[in-house]
């Protein structure tokens, strides 16, 4: 029994990604068409060349028909995938495995979410009939549980802690300002972030990711076929996905300063990819910054910072675009926006651009190894995805 991974066995040969944001003039079908056709063009393939599809959406539709109908897919398999906010990554993971298994030669993973049509603020759950005992905590409140716990454990006074969180949002906005597809393309002064209206204390509205519409897609083939399609493919080194036992709300030994699911998926992914020192070996990362304290804790869970020191790294600019390990160079969920089913593939899209030197004003110098991290749920009760991708084989 082992998680062996599929290091260097599959490659991405083309990607597409819509602009994320308020697409009042586009439905999920439009967004899917745009991402898919951009990916076809990017890989230089025709729709009929694709053997199978994995479609991720949390709630913008059901079944493979959500994709096959607008794209007029000619009687091919379309698998609809859902794994909360990690839905996009999960679609990609399944697509990669299908290719690695030899079942298909060329497949597409695509994710979409249309959030702005609901008329509600923030995300809205769709719970099955229940006994009414589950709380009605919103996502920002769930993730805000991390802040007082982290501050207390590491002796940060709340004001200093708030500075750290604000700086994370500031960095992601600064990166997003250099990204023409991001929802928010504006740098925001740190004082504005710090003083933004409270949503779930200490989190203000500027600590929250953008509620967004969007779609992203990737075309995947066996690594040995990649150069038939593409001069600069990117290679999958590791894919890890874990669902936890949801101990956080059940077990007193969980202290809300870590995501055990992330630690487990990072360990698995690093083992698949042969990474022994993430802080030194990873050139760049896209992580799930749904709310600023999430990103803070992720630095430690992913092994980028030692326990209790991520806040210091944040203040030192370690994760800035010019830092030693740029995190969320595309602006992250905070600035690029978070259309749930698309986000995991959007993270991969940034890897694609950066490795190929197509990231424009936010280009990182010669990245070799990238990481994407995507999670769904809440602290203590979540699913987590980590991928490691590389510019080269080996």
């Amino acid at each position: 029994m082992a998680s062996r991974g599929i290091k260097d066995r599959v490659a991405i040969i083309g990607m597409g990604c819509t602009k994320f944001g308020e697409h009042w003039d586009k439905g999920p079908e439009d967004l899917l068409c745009e991402a898919a056709y951009e990916a076809y063009a990017s890989a230089g393939v025709q729709p009929d060349d694709i053997d199978a599809y994995w479609l991720g959406t949390m709630g913008s539709g059901v079944s493979g028909l959500l994709l096959s109908e607008p794209l007029k897919i000619q009687y091919k398999p379309v698998t609809r995938v859902e794994n909360m906010c990690a839905t996009g990554s999960e679609a990609m993971r399944q697509a990669c495995y299908a290719v690695a298994s030899g079942a298909f030669d060329i497949v597409m993973a695509i994710g979409v979410e249309k959030l702005k049509d609901s008329g509600y603020s923030g995300l809205v759950g769709n719970a099955p009939p229940n006994d009414g005992t589950e709380g009605n905590m919103t996502a920002p409140a769930s993730f805000s549980l991390l802040a007082p716990a982290y501050f207390k454990k590491y002796g940060l006074d709340p004001d200093k802690g708030k500075d750290v969180l604000s700086r994370i949002a500031w960095k992601n906005h600064r990166n997003g300002a250099r990204n023409p597809k991001a929802q928010f393309q504006k740098e925001v002064p740190i004082e504005t972030i710090k003083n933004s209206p409270k949503i779930a204390d200490p989190l203000g509205i500027m600590d929250c990711s953008g509620v967004s519409d969007g779609s992203a897609a990737a075309i995947i083939v066996r690594a040995e076929d990649a150069h038939k399609y593409c001069k600069k493919p990117i290679y999958i080194k590791a894919l890890s996905f874990v669902a936890g036992p949801a101990e956080g709300p059940l077990s007193s030994d969980y202290d809300f300063t870590t995501f055990r699911e992330v630690v487990a998926s990072a360990k698995d992914a690093y083992s698949q990819a042969g990474i022994t020192d993430a802080r030194a070996q990873v050139s760049m990362a896209e992580v799930h910054d749904c709310f600023t304290p999430t990103e803070l804790v992720l630095y430690e869970d992913l092994g980028f910072s030692k326990r209790g020191t991520a806040w210091q790294d944040v203040l030192d600019g370690y994760f800035d675009l010019e830092g030693k390990l740029p995190v969320n160079p595309d602006g992250g969920l905070k600035s690029f926006g978070h259309p749930i089913g698309a986000s995991g593939l959007r993270m991969m899209y940034e890897m694609w651009l950066q490795f190929r030197g197509e990231a424009g004003p936010r280009q990182i110098k010669d990245p070799k190894i990238g990481l994407t991290h995507n999670l769904g749920g809440a602290p203590g009760r979540c699913v987590s995805f980590v991928s490691v991708v590389g510019k080269n084989l080996g």
Binding site: D131, G132, N136, A141, L250
Partner: protein, 469 residues
């Protein structure tokens, strides 16, 4: 001997200063303040709190009857007493009923409970609770208060024996409210005092003293509850009662708590009773009930779980604006969030001991308490090695917290706390009766039964944490 074995009371945490009404509406304000059921409380949830308190002081009692008296039942059709029974872990073989119709339902329920206990070897529990609405600018809005009281009645371990009782019933246009109406109407007060309250109370008291062969001078304390306190003054004068014997009617501190009031006043005087002391209790509405109790030697060692006096002191203000919102007298802009879903019948039935009784489970393999109840142990992963484990009366400490300003609530922000129970067990709970800026890691909390929301006519009851009172 049949009588009171134990009692408990519940005064909600919130107070509305009467001057605060005056500041908004310009009406004359009477003195003091009134208690206000929080936005997540109703007569049933408050009754649960009072019964829990009474049960804590009588852990050995076994019950055959539960009577729930109120003029403000949460359900017009559906047994409200069943909610109280489920939340207080009453046995299944229980006769339970709702008694309603007038504020006299409270004292009538005590007399019914005494009869039930006398006729069986099982105890009866009487839960009396009210959260009556008064229309803005009216007297009732200022003078009413919200609260609950509960009595365990039985034949063993009696702390106050019922020596005699008397009842009268008259059809009388005093206070009335048709189904669907929110506010009660009442007739002009000279008529009700002179033609109803004074004569009916007088007659019932006369009857009960005659039955018990007592004179007013034999009474140590006197509890008289009248919708209009002037009737009490008249009775006291005519009986030549020492005013010091009259029980506090909490007019300045709580207000008049409807059906619960006579019982609450009695709960107020109980700690002052010495063995042998006699108390007269009388209440009036569409007739009158009166009873005489005599304290037994057991009263000397009885301690209520939470005294009325202590709960009067434990309080926090509610603004008049929030009060109007909580009671849905003032309509407000709905949030840009979906309405909560109605809880579903089958899962509610499956999880009844959890949802209503707050019973989790404890792993018999490793001893770890956990909630909600689990099949596979979170600690040792033993499968189906669980036994029921009650959490409702255990205290807990805050591990971390969230102040949610986005979630739908009649009283934003919603405070959520991760709590660790004494003896083990972790839970993510909503927190109530507290100020958001005061929540801190390490604070001690206790559990309280609340109505989370109402959707499609279904009241969603569950438990919340609150600061230790």
């Amino acid at each position: 001997m049949t009588g009171i074995v134990s009692y408990g009371s519940y005064i909600p945490y919130r107070r509305l200063k009467r001057a605060a009404i005056s500041q908004v509406l310009g009406v004359a304000a009477s003195k003091g303040e009134r208690s206000v059921a929080s936005f997540d409380e109703d007569s049933a949830s408050m009754a649960v709190e009072a019964v829990r308190s009474a049960l804590k002081a009588a852990p050995a009692a076994t019950f055959g009857t539960l009577l729930f008296a109120t003029t403000t039942p949460p359900y017009g059709e559906k047994l409200n007493a069943a909610i109280v029974a489920a939340a207080t872990r009453m046995p299944r073989n229980l006769r339970a009923l709702d008694l309603t119709g007038s504020v006299r339902a409270g004292i009538s329920a005590i007399l019914q409970g005494v009869d039930a206990a006398a006729n069986s070897n099982l105890c009866a529990v009487v839960a009396i609770s009210d959260a009556r609405l008064g229309a803005p600018e009216g007297k009732a809005e200022q003078q009413n208060g919200d609260g609950a009281v509960a009595f365990v009645l039985g034949t063993e371990g009696v702390i106050a024996e019922i020596e005699a009782s008397a009842s009268l019933t008259r059809e009388f246009m005093d206070t009335w409210r048709a189904p669907g109406e929110r506010f009660a109407h009442s007739w002009e007060e000279r008529f009700t005092i002179t033609q109803a309250y004074s004569p009916l109370l007088g007659k019932a008291i006369q009857d009960v003293l005659a039955k018990a062969k007592l004179t007013p001078g034999d009474l140590a304390r006197v509890v008289i509850d009248s919708p209009n306190p002037r009737a009490v003054d008249e009775i006291a004068r005519s009986m030549k009662l020492d005013p010091a014997k009259l029980a506090d009617n909490f007019a300045v501190t709580i207000g008049q708590t409807g059906a619960a009031h006579a019982g609450l006043m009695l709960a107020g005087v109980m700690p002052t009773l010495k063995p042998g002391d006699r108390v007269l209790v009388a209440a009036v509405a569409d007739g009158a009930d009166a009873m005489v109790l005599r304290a037994t030697p057991a009263i000397a060692s009885f301690k209520p779980a939470k005294s009325v006096g202590r709960q009067i002191e434990s309080k926090g203000d509610v603004s008049y604006g929030n009060y109007l919102k909580w009671r849905e007298i003032l309509p407000t802009e709905p949030p840009r969030r979906p309405d909560p879903d109605r809880p579903a019948g089958p899962p509610m039935l499956r999880s009844q001991s959890w949802k209503f009784g707050f019973v989790g489970s404890k792993c018999t393999a490793c001893g770890t308490p956990q909630l909600p109840p689990q099949r596979v142990c979170v600690h040792c992963r033993a499968f189906d090695n669980m036994e029921p484990y009650e959490f409702a009366d255990r205290s807990a400490k805050i591990a971390t917290y969230a102040i949610d300003r986005l979630a739908y609530s009649l009283n934003p922000p919603t405070i959520n706390v991760v709590i660790d129970f004494e003896g083990g067990g972790r839970f993510l709970s909503e927190m109530t009766d507290c100020e958001p800026e005061k929540v801190a890691i390490g604070d001690e909390v206790e559990m309280t039964f609340r109505r989370l929301f109402t959707a499609d006519g279904v009241h969603n009851y569950f438990w919340k944490a609150r600061p230790k009172r």
